[in-house]
């Protein structure tokens, strides 16, 4: 095991639980006392935070949703009136489509924000002084400050490639002899296609490069293995959000994709249980068991400005049993590569279809990207069409189409038509790709 902090990672479970419980009590009480949103929210619900004594009382605490925060913040100044202790304001990205709430940050938050990501990078084996290419845009969201703080906390040198294009970013990997890069899976795919177009062979001509850190989207295991082979690097994953003050789950030294009995298999994301209480709840609010999927609900233990106390993330993850990973860590475990939005699920012909399953079937080889469309055909029946753009349009063939259709059917359980999109149809999206549209007559 490659420890980033053996004091925490080897802490006996009962000590960790007591540590977390004591902190939870403090978080809930100080949130009510100091954070206007929680005073408003708990008063409205008649909830008394003094009743929270330990982790055993977690389920008694009301959950919070994005809509609750947005309701409170509507009509109020962003992050409240002038506060001399305020140091940053982070807006959420808005990719959920519901709205963008603001998160005030104080000095304590700015010191805490990079720690989780440092665990991810150090677990992956990067060492201080190595260079990491950053691609996720620097704006009013937490992403920019988060990645800078994470590099600082891990002793890494950030190569800030926000303001440049894909061609130059590939060049910067070489110019700065980067050890790794951080991007969404969609963007890693775009970088890979560009590097191939440039004739690069990073597995041979970029010896410093060895780690790819993905976040923000699900991805297929075969895609990940293709990327690993091309770049000569291992894929790792971290999960976190504005509401969690950065990464709170990350893959270990084994990576996000491991060798399974039948080929590449999902790796494990380890919870940073001393920094965030991560629940996975079924639709009825009960905790799911090992092997089952549910909604991620988070309670941050190191946030001062706007802590998340049982915040429902709207993301879905599969919980694994404690100790599921061969690394031997005893923290909470979650399946890597499959975290997706709960509201991304599409019902097609009575089947629950997760776009991530179509991603895994389509996004391989020379596929640039795809767009999915569910619509009502002329005969009134539901039709599903997947439009695919290839890096080399001349590679389109009946064999290719059959292969994609068969994989979609196997992974998503639904038959879909596969059509070709002309080159350049799909705009390069550097952040999270939104690939699906539902145009069924019944949705109007």
């Amino acid at each position: 095991m490659s420890a980033a902090n053996a004091v925490i990672e080897a802490m006996p479970a009962d000590r960790l639980r007591a540590m977390v419980g004591r902190r939870l009590r403090h978080v809930v009480r100080s949130a009510y006392r100091e954070v206007p949103f929680y005073r408003w929210y708990y008063d409205r619900l008649g909830f008394d935070p003094d009743g929270v004594a330990s982790v055993d009382d977690l389920a008694r605490i009301p959950t919070v949703t994005k809509r609750d925060l947005l309701e409170f913040q509507a009509g109020r100044p962003v992050a409240g009136e002038r506060d001399p202790s305020l140091r940053q304001i982070h807006l959420t990205s808005g990719t959920s489509g519901v709205g963008r709430e603001s998160h005030p940050r104080y000095a304590e938050d700015l010191e805490a924000v990079g720690i989780g990501g440092a665990y991810e990078f150090l677990w992956a084996g990067l060492v201080p002084g190595e260079r990491l290419l950053l691609t996720i845009p620097y704006s009013q969201t937490m992403a920019g400050p988060h990645f800078q703080a994470t590099c600082k906390a891990a002793g890494l040198v950030p190569v800030n490639a926000f303001a440049t294009g894909t061609t130059e970013r590939v060049a910067q990997l070489y110019r700065f002899a980067c050890a790794g890069l951080s991007a969404t899976p969609s963007y890693v795919h775009a970088l890979t296609l560009e590097a191939r177009r440039q004739g690069r062979r990073p597995d041979r001509d970029l010896p410093s490069f060895r780690r790819i850190f993905v976040s923000g989207e699900s991805y297929g295991t075969e895609w990940a293995r293709e990327v690993e082979a091309y770049w000569g690097a291992r894929v790792h994953e971290g999960w976190g959000a504005t509401q969690t003050l950065g990464v709170v789950m990350a893959s270990c030294e084994l990576g996000a994709v491991v060798d399974g009995p039948y080929g590449p298999a999902r790796g494990v994301l380890h919870g940073l249980d001393h920094r965030c209480v991560i629940e996975v709840l079924a639709a009825d609010g009960s905790p799911v068991g090992p092997g089952d999927a549910g909604e991620i609900v988070v309670t941050t233990l190191r946030t001062r400005g706007l802590p998340s106390v049982r915040f429902r993330m709207g993301d879905r993850v599969r919980r694994l049993g404690t100790g599921s990973c061969r690394c031997g860590r005893t923290s909470s475990c979650f399946e890597a590569g499959t975290i997706g939005r709960l509201d991304d699920m599409i019902k097609i012909r009575g089947m629950n279809v997760w776009p991530s399953s179509v991603d895994a079937a389509v996004l391989q080889g020379a596929v640039v990207d795809y767009r999915g469309r569910v619509f009502t055909g002329g005969d009134g029946r539901e039709r599903v069409e997947v439009g695919v753009e290839l890096a080399d349009p001349s590679a389109w063939s009946d064999e290719f189409v059959t292969g994609v259709r068969d994989r979609i059917k196997a992974l998503a359980g639904v038959s879909m038509d596969v059509v070709q999109l002309p080159s350049g149809t799909l705009r390069e999206e550097g952040f999270k790709s939104r690939r699906w549209r539902d145009e069924r007559a019944s949705r109007r």
Binding site: R15, R23, G155, W231, G232
Partner: protein, 98 residues
């Protein structure tokens, strides 16, 4: 060997990682050395709190110093947490958590 598995760290020409960034997991929580560290960081927490209060009470205009003291306190609180010491206990006590 997984891709990128043995590239980089430890190869000839690469500087050794700083102390504390090693790769051996031990039963560190109960190590006497860790207990010493926890005592040291507890003293640091109390020291940075005291410093911040003193700067506020000093009466000399020095916002740059005050802001540095604020950051020092925040860093030390995080350092303490990562060593298993809770500097934010509601009763003001600082000590090994759990």
């Amino acid at each position: 060997m997984p891709p990128g598995g043995d590239r980089g760290a430890g190869t000839a020409g690469r500087p050794a990682p700083p102390p504390g960034t090693g790769t051996t997991a031990v039963a560190a929580t109960t190590s006497p050395g860790v207990a010493d560290l926890q005592q040291q960081v507890t003293a640091l927490v109390l020291g940075t709190r005291s410093l911040a209060e003193s700067v506020d009470a000093c009466g000399v205009p020095m916002p740059i110093v005050a802001l540095l003291a604020e950051r020092a306190r925040a860093v030390v609180d995080e350092l303490a947490w990562e060593l298993g010491v809770d500097a934010g206990a509601p009763d003001g006590d600082v000590g090994p958590a759990g």
